[in-house]
Symmetry: C2
Subunit: 219 residues, 2 copies
């Protein structure tokens, strides 16, 4: 392995950056945060310097061993494949499938519909009252499905009693839900698991409020 510093290009409030921060912390991988301010001017992700890192102009991006990786779930699976201990995927084939299922329900079923880019398009289309309602609708819709699946599957965390990549996706999505004032009392299993996970140091350290670029006035 190279001795180069591992760099995470991250925005404190980006839930996709948050997922990767949790996974890096759980794996015990030392990394340096390179903040990319999505709210500054037209967004630092569109700056020429950042385009050289990630031509897709998105966060997160991970520089590791001379390679730059993008897309959050891809990065997390790369970490799992290259540094298997401690495992964030079960060895059982059906449990692995369950982890991927929960990740996918959040990653493709909820997050893309309530990110900043989409909400600004909703505002342009239908007025400034609509983005909040839109975000709430898709988070509630997606979390109803996630709640159903989690309730049917016993365990301390999303899939059994060990922390997995599904947990790395769940906690940032709950953070988003709260930002958008979703009534989380309707999702008791999600909240039980979120509360368990929040006690773990890896999750605590990855929280948006604990990032170097966190703008405290917006907390």
């Amino acid at each position: 392995m190279s001795t180069k510093t591992t760099l995470l290009y991250s925005y404190w409030r980006s839930s996709c950056s948050y997922r990767v921060r949790i996974a890096l912390n759980l794996k015990g991988i030392a990394y340096e945060i390179k903040p990319v301010d999505l709210m500054k001017g037209k967004g630092d992700q569109h700056h020429e310097d950042y385009k050289k890192v990630n031509p897709l102009q998105k966060v997160p991006a991970l520089e590791i061993n001379g390679h730059t990786l993008v897309e959050s779930l891809n990065i997390m699976h790369f970490l799992e494949e290259t540094q298997p201990q401690p495992p964030l995927m079960p060895s059982d084939i059906f449990k692995r499938s369950k982890v991927r299922e929960i990740c996918e329900m959040i990653q493709s079923g909820i997050q893309p519909l309530q990110n900043m880019g989409v909400l600004s398009h909703i505002e342009a289309l239908a007025g400034k009252e609509k983005p909040l309602e839109w975000a709430q609708h898709w988070i509630v819709n997606g979390f109803k499905a996630v709640e159903k699946q989690l309730t049917a599957y016993p365990g301390k965390y999303c899939v059994g009693d060990d922390v997995t990549l599904a947990d790395c996706c769940l906690v940032p999505q709950v953070y988003n839900a709260k930002r958008y004032k979703v009534d989380m009392a309707q999702f008791p299993t999600i909240m039980r698991i979120d509360n368990e996970l929040k006690t773990l140091p890896a999750f605590h350290a990855a929280h948006p409020f604990n990032q170097p670029d966190c703008v405290t006035v917006n907390k």
Copy 2:
């Protein structure tokens, strides 16, 4: 392995069902299609009988060896893990990452923003002229990024000269783009790869028009 029939709950035009059909065909796994008509009445996916198969009321769902799997990428990775030949993931760790990256760009960056459920919400919010424009915007936006990544990566297909899960995602998304009248001439690398893939029997057999539930009048 069980001798039970493998059943794919599928809708001919669903791009997520289409991805899984391609992967099953490439793996040479015999399966029976159980059509779920998303357009019939309120949608057969909400019927009580189907809720017993998939409480999430979505397609695809795969019944295999007594288990029911949901979420398309999850199903495809399950097939890869349980039936590794022929491989749809490279063995090289960085090529694997590249495959997951392309899959994720389509699966979370494009498809969720242009599916039927989202478009009907856009129509309710902004009128019946808007869904087409909305779908085109997000497909073009996402395909610009995919085109950039594919052009930077040499090979006959998405990632090198072997067919991978990335190709299983690309072709159905190109099908959707054409349905929504996106000008595909602006994406020459995507079109080159799509044209290569369409010559393969596994892709041809999985095409919406070749499904038992295809409504020919809508072709």
